[in-house]
């Protein structure tokens, strides 16, 4: 479970940050807690919108990507610090990353009160409509007399405090699951995947016929696309369009980009269709995905796309046999996301892994033998949570038969150790 921790103090020495760091360390098996810094967040001013400042954006993006948030608050003047309030104001002004986010409040203080009033106040603030967070009820964790409760390694000394914190954190992880379940959008089901690409996404080029063989040329003209020696700024580097093509066309992998609107918009065109592991022709670029698959395969394609779009799996693996005994062709379907975690389409990677296997066997002096206990379902990858009833037709290749058995390896060289040749 991914959580972010926010310590409501900008002071260098903060027991609240110490407490969060301790939680991150001590309970790393329970939660993956990333403790954020709020030092660079400017004081909120509605006349000087700094929502787009790197400090605010970085925190917002981390919160959006996290399952939940833990806030540790000091108490100044019976309330939370201005620095924490200021951050919350930025996160409730033009952006609302806390909306629906499960939050746990903890607090450390020098006095007996242990930030009790600040915590109540923070609850009220977080539940205001602009912030709209969902704070875990009850389970107050008030750490008083902070000067004496940590040992020299910054660990909490008192066992009862540690076990109470563990119990509270355990409840919070359940709370996070329940709230995030509640936040889930109603899943419209895989049938909702429109392979005719009737919808549109931000990048959809409108007014150009998707089915046309010269879609690329027409769409490029319409968007005034960069080409040739035009520079493109990338994460991380700067290439010209020509350089990008040299680079992508020299990958020993067939790459295909299908966008979030299920439109096939790119493949690295370094082979003719007849020489490809998964045939594509230049005229297909721009087609809705329905154009590139036989009718009988459509439901399976829909299921795979839907799993990737909804995050049921991040990558779907599919062996596609039928290319002869000397090849083992894998299709990998990897979901693509932007920095905010929004689905941006599929990266399909097709390659023959047999040369890799052969290389490995040869150079480590090993050979393949049949596993008598093997599960014969070699079709779907181990990483998928759910799989369509029948995955074998996804790529549209004629994959109704069992995958071919891998060829017997050549006799290994005389080398024996795993690293002998390198």
């Amino acid at each position: 479970m991914k959580l972010v921790g926010i310590a409501g103090s900008v002071a260098d020495k903060s027991y609240n940050r110490l407490l969060l760091k301790y939680i991150a360390r001590e309970f790393k098996d329970v939660v993956d807690l990333d403790v954020l810094d709020i030092n660079d967040v400017p004081l909120f001013n509605q006349s000087d919108d700094q929502t787009d400042s790197p400090a605010v954006q970085a925190i917002s993006n981390k919160i959006l990507a996290a399952d939940g948030v833990i806030i540790a608050t000091p108490e100044h003047n019976h309330t939370i610090t201005a620095s924490l309030k200021s951050l919350i104001e930025w996160l409730s002004f033009n952006i609302h990353p806390m909306s629906g986010k499960p939050v746990m409040i903890v607090g450390a203080s020098y006095y007996d009160q242990g930030s009790s009033r600040a915590q109540l106040n923070l609850r009220q603030i977080l539940e205001s409509p602009g912030v709209d967070a969902i704070v875990m009820p009850g389970n107050e964790f008030l750490l008083a007399n902070v000067k004496t409760v940590f040992d020299e390694n910054d660990n909490l000394k008192d066992d009862r405090t540690v076990s109470f914190l563990k119990e509270t954190l355990g409840k919070f992880t359940k709370f996070v699951k329940v709230i995030n379940k509640m936040n889930e959008k109603e899943d419209p089901g895989w049938q909702s995947e429109d392979l005719e690409s009737h919808g549109k996404v931000e990048t959809t080029v409108e007014g150009v016929d998707m089915h046309a063989a010269d879609w690329v040329e027409k769409a490029a003209e319409k968007t005034n696309a960069a080409e040739g020696d035009d520079y493109v700024k990338l994460d991380r580097g700067l290439l010209t369009v020509n350089q990008l093509n040299y680079f992508l066309n020299s990958m020993p992998i067939e790459l295909t980009y299908a966008d979030a609107n299920n439109q096939f918009i790119y493949y690295n065109h370094f082979l003719e269709a007849k020489d490809m592991l998964a045939a594509r022709t230049p005229g297909q670029a721009g087609n809705p995905m329905a154009d590139c698959h036989p009718k009988r395969a459509i439901p399976h394609v829909q299921q795979v796309i839907h799993m990737l779009r909804t995050g049921q799996t991040d990558m779907f693996r599919l062996p596609v046999p039928g290319m002869g005994p000397d090849k083992y062709v894998m299709h990998y379907y990897k979901a693509m996301h932007d920095a905010k975690g929004e689905y941006k389409g599929i990266n399909e990677l097709v390659l023959d892994i047999m040369p890799i296997v052969q290389y490995y066997l040869k150079h480590t002096g090993q050979m393949l033998v049949k596993d008598p206990d093997a599960d014969t379902d070699a079709v779907s990858g181990a990483s998928t949570n759910t799989k369509p009833e029948k995955t074998d037709a996804v790529s549209g290749a004629s994959a109704d038969t069992e995958p071919e058995k891998p060829a017997e390896p050549e006799k290994p060289d005389e080398v024996s150790g795993a690293s002998a040749n390198s």
Binding site: K13, F44, H78, A82, S83, Q124, V131
Partner: protein, 202 residues
Amino acid sequence: MHKFVAIVGTNSDNSTNRKLLQFMQKHFADQATIELVEIKGLPMFNKPEDKQIPAQAQAMAKQIDQADGVIISTPEYDHSAPAALMNALEWLSYYVNPFADKPVMITGASYGSLGTSRAQEHLRQILDSPELRARIMPSSEFFLGHSLQAFDDDGNLVDQTKLAKLEGLFADFQTFVDITKQLNHANAANKQEIHDIDWANR
């Protein structure tokens, strides 16, 4: 004639709370001197080790110290007082004590209908804290809702009922200031206790 400091509870360029205080300054000019004070420009409170507060905060502390009372007009952000106002009050409680036993009147203006009811509650709680120890006028609330429509072109309050309420509360505040002057027996102790707060370990 009493001398009051009026704190604009926001750093925003456009504020109906500022407008309200400007109106009070003008409307009550024959009853009291009201100086408006801005909180814009104060850096984020960060507990500096040298215990020094910025020059702007020092000047504010001095003004408050010399005033008979303070009026604070607050907007409401996220059901509470704005960070900018909280920030100013943090500076004004950091090894300085201008609010100790100081009479305070709270007002608030908002675009919506509630007129900062929750922010005022929050501000009361802050001013009552051991770091500030202000004397907030009890049982009095002035909420100016729909504040964008509340003033005419000359900056005068349009609603006569609201105006009567404000005049009444201001008269009460003048009396409250006089009464509160007698509630000062623990003033020296209060100031010392504020000064002795250990901010470094909070």
